[in-house]
Amino acid sequence: MEDGKNANPLILNPSDLPTRRRRASARQDHSALDVSLAYPAPSFSNDPFARSSSPSSIEESDSDAEDEPIDTQEIYDLIATMSDPEHPITLGSLAVVSLPDIAITPTIPSRPASNLQTVTVLITPTIQHCSLATVIGLGVRVRLEESLPPRFRVDVRIKEGTHSTADEVNKQLADKERVAAALWNPTLQSFIKKMLETCE
């Protein structure tokens, strides 16, 4: 504790972490159990001779018909799988990141035409004076910047009242130049690499 590490953090159970609701339509396994049960397609049902090469002929599940915009759940899935540098536990299960603390808003509200969007992530360090808050924040920002298209602006901040030096950390995390420079630092690089290992 005294060295700003939390030896004994509270850990959420994976089954309680938010997950994307299955869209019954998209999945063919509408079953809770193994699919082998879904009866075999009749031998004549797939007919290579008859298939056409035009995309239109492919079944719904694979068409571009429905658009799937980037939403908070997706952002969450991107960062929740990262692991805390000091415990081999994911940020999700440590509740360092949580779905309600993620927001996606238009960057320039006054301009509906603009496709710029701002992702705001509030992170909750495992303890008030977690020495690694900055690194975690940096990790999250890096993860999002390399995983989101350029039209996204990423704001990573410490959730109010959850950290002793929040303002300091926030200012650093908000400073594009410092973040860019930090990534040249090999030690930080390896740190972040470690955090991201669990994502791939």
Binding site: T107, S110, L116, P150, A181, W184
Partner: protein
């Protein structure tokens, strides 16, 4: 970022006629296979050397031609990490085709990198130089005074272009050949002259001192919270003369005060007084200012040297309001001003501006005298008097600062003279028309020298707020006085300072007035209240800033890291000395923008 005043309609509605869009002249595609972020682009200060250098996160620097926008060379291998900043050494403007005969000045580039080092490079490619000279001729000199002298642009343009065409063609051709013929000549093209090491962490910004300074200085700043000042004691030999560490956060930008050219480089005054006198009166204030006299006269000398071969004295370029003064902006939200007060190399912080609410990303000095604010309506008809008034105005003129910040604002700062200074100024002021009895009066015994050299700086104006993300860069045109800014929201905005009742330029916005209300007054030097100050022998208009042009998503969805003015060098230019805007984006490209015609014309016609 809370207290942002309601944004003028111009920003909410691009179609609004009041803020026309900039038009894209050219995209300079980063040559890299997978381009990475570019941080900054700088045009060479001398229009006769139309080069543009851009700093890239991929450790390289690209050098472009502002004539034909071709990529001239890419400097690699100098730095181990991203190149964050570039700067050209300014030797003053070389004049016209005649000067090509003379020994030309070297082209010197400085680069600052996240690897904590500063590199100094010298261009050693005569062939290309020759080529530029050629084109220089073809284009009939790139800059104001000469243009004015050689009369009608209209008359000259046609043949210029024709000649320009074929010469340009040859030139281009010979680039092509050359490029293919000898690729590894690239390395040789830029000679790595000096490596400056010292700061502990990333270099964030560097700038060479202006040519008329008493010494060749280089200012660098870094994340280690320090500002370093270097002096070139021998050619290509640099020494650290000061390390300034009052800033409590990493230092983002440095900017030298260069003053402005009298008449903004345009020939205007008939039978004007000799610069010396003007300056004699200009620095009535204190002994410190005496130094400036010294420098300025000196620089005059130098200046005279540079255009000794000019028979027409009227094209003399007199620098006004220049002081050896450095401004720095920092992560600690403050702007600091530094000066070598005792002339013994002990640089101290002479001013702090701390009203920004976020990191100060960029500061720039005013390099253009806004004569439009001088109200000549009631001055006596005699030219003499008009001249005198003008002289007074110029004598009093001292440059302001513009800064941009994470707090989303762009603000202009002005120095408030201490009472003592005002007093001395007043007493030193001669009666209109009478012969100047300048110096004696001002010579105070050193015992009653003002105790501190501290300067008081106040917010002069807050520019209409356009940006909704961090404002990363701002630039103040030396030629037109226009200010341009850019930021994380991908928007570029151009601002103009206009008379309040004035209706040309953009029509006034209600909230502009409001803003002037809030920022006290838009009035010029020395006057906080009104513009009929009895102390002053001249009247000033009330001024305000308004957005005169802007472009959104200027780099598509990417952030814009830097924006600046550059003298337009390509054949398409609408008039000599036209300026373009150069913006640099996260996608690694540099984009060149031109002002809408009416605006361009407006600024061209000047006063």
């Amino acid at each position: 970022m809370a207290a942002s005043p309601p944004r003028p309609p111009t920003t909410t509605n691009p179609s609004s006629p009041s803020a026309p869009e900039l038009s894209l002249l050219q995209v300079l595609q980063s040559p890299a296979s997978g381009p990475s972020r570019s941080w900054q682009s700088m045009p060479h200060p001398d229009p006769a050397t139309p080069l543009l250098a851009s700093a890239s996160a991929d450790k390289s620097v690209n050098i472009w031609s502002l004539r034909d926008f071709s990529l001239i060379s890419t400097i690699n291998g100098g730095h181990k990490r991203s190149v964050r900043t570039v700067a050209w050494k300014d030797f003053g403007q070389s004049k016209s085709s005649k000067s090509t005969k003379k020994e030309r000045k070297p082209v010197v580039l400085g680069t600052g990198s996240f690897d904590a080092n500063v590199g100094i490079w010298i261009w050693n490619d005569d062939r290309r130089w020759a080529r530029f000279r050629e084109q220089e001729k073809a284009y009939g000199g790139g800059n104001g005074p000469l243009q004015a002298q050689t009369g009608e642009p209209g008359q000259q343009h046609p043949n210029t272009t024709t000649r320009g065409d074929n010469v340009g063609a040859e030139a281009d051709a010979d680039v092509e050949i050359d490029m293919t013929r000898d690729p590894d000549e690239e390395d040789e093209e830029w000679h790595f002259s000096t490596l400056l090491t010292g700061p502990d962490s990333e270099i964030k910004s560097i700038e060479f001192s202006p040519p008329h300074y008493s010494a060749n200085l280089l200012a660098t700043c870094s994340r280690d919270k320090s500002v370093w000042i270097w002096e070139e004691v021998e050619p290509e030999e640099w020494e650290t003369i000061a390390v300034l560490s009052e800033h409590t956060g990493d230092v983002k930008c440095v900017s030298w005060c260069a003053g402005a050219l009298r008449g903004n480089g345009r020939q205007r005054t008939k039978g004007g007084k000799s610069g010396g006198e003007v300056f004699g009166q200009a620095d009535g204030d204190d002994d410190v200012e005496m130094e400036d006299t010294h420098t300025n006269t000196q620089s005059n000398g130098a200046g005279a040297g540079t255009y000794a071969d000019h028979d027409d004295p009227s094209s003399e370029q007199v620098v006004l309001g220049s002081r050896e003064l450095l401004a720095t902006g920092s992560y600690d939200d403050t702007i600091r001003l530094w000066r070598d007060v005792e002339e013994e190399g002990d640089w101290i912080c002479v001013g702090v501006i701390d009203s920004h609410k976020g990191t100060v990303w960029d500061v720039k000095w005013e390099g253009h005298i806004n004569y439009t604010q001088l109200d000549l309506s009631q001055t006596p008809p005699s030219f003499q008097d008009a001249d005198a008034v003008l002289a007074e105005f110029e004598a009093d003129w001292s440059p302001r600062l513009v800064s941009c910040s994470d707090d989303l604002t762009v603000r202009v700062w002005r120095r408030e003279l201490s009472e003592a200074e005002k007093a001395r100024k007043a007493q030193s002021r001669p009666l209109l028309g009478a012969a100047p009895t300048g110096f004696a009066g001002t010579r105070l015994p050193s015992v009653i020298r003002p105790p501190s050299s501290l300067e008081h700086w106040v917010e002069d104006a807050r520019l209409p707020q356009v940006h909704v993300r961090s404002v990363y860069a701002v630039d103040w045109s030396r030629r037109t006085g226009l200010v341009v800014s850019c930021g994380g929201d991908g928007t570029i905005a151009v601002y103009k300072e206009v008379k309040v009742e004035d209706t040309d330029g953009a029509q006034p916005h209600v909230d502009d007035m409001v803003m002037n209300g809030t920022t006290g007054t838009g009035a010029g030097p020395g006057t906080a209240t009104g513009y009929a100050d009895p102390q002053l022998p001249y009247k000033l208009h009330k001024m305000k800033w308004t957005v005169v042009a802007q472009i959104e998503a200027a780099h598509d969805e990417y952030e814009i890291n830097h924006v600046c003015w550059a003298v337009r060098g390509d054949r398409g230019r609408r008039f000599a000395g036209e300026e373009v805007i150069v913006s640099t984006g996260d996608e690694g490209n540099v984009r060149i923008w031109t002002l809408p015609d009416h605006l361009a014309v407006a600024v061209e016609s000047g006063l």
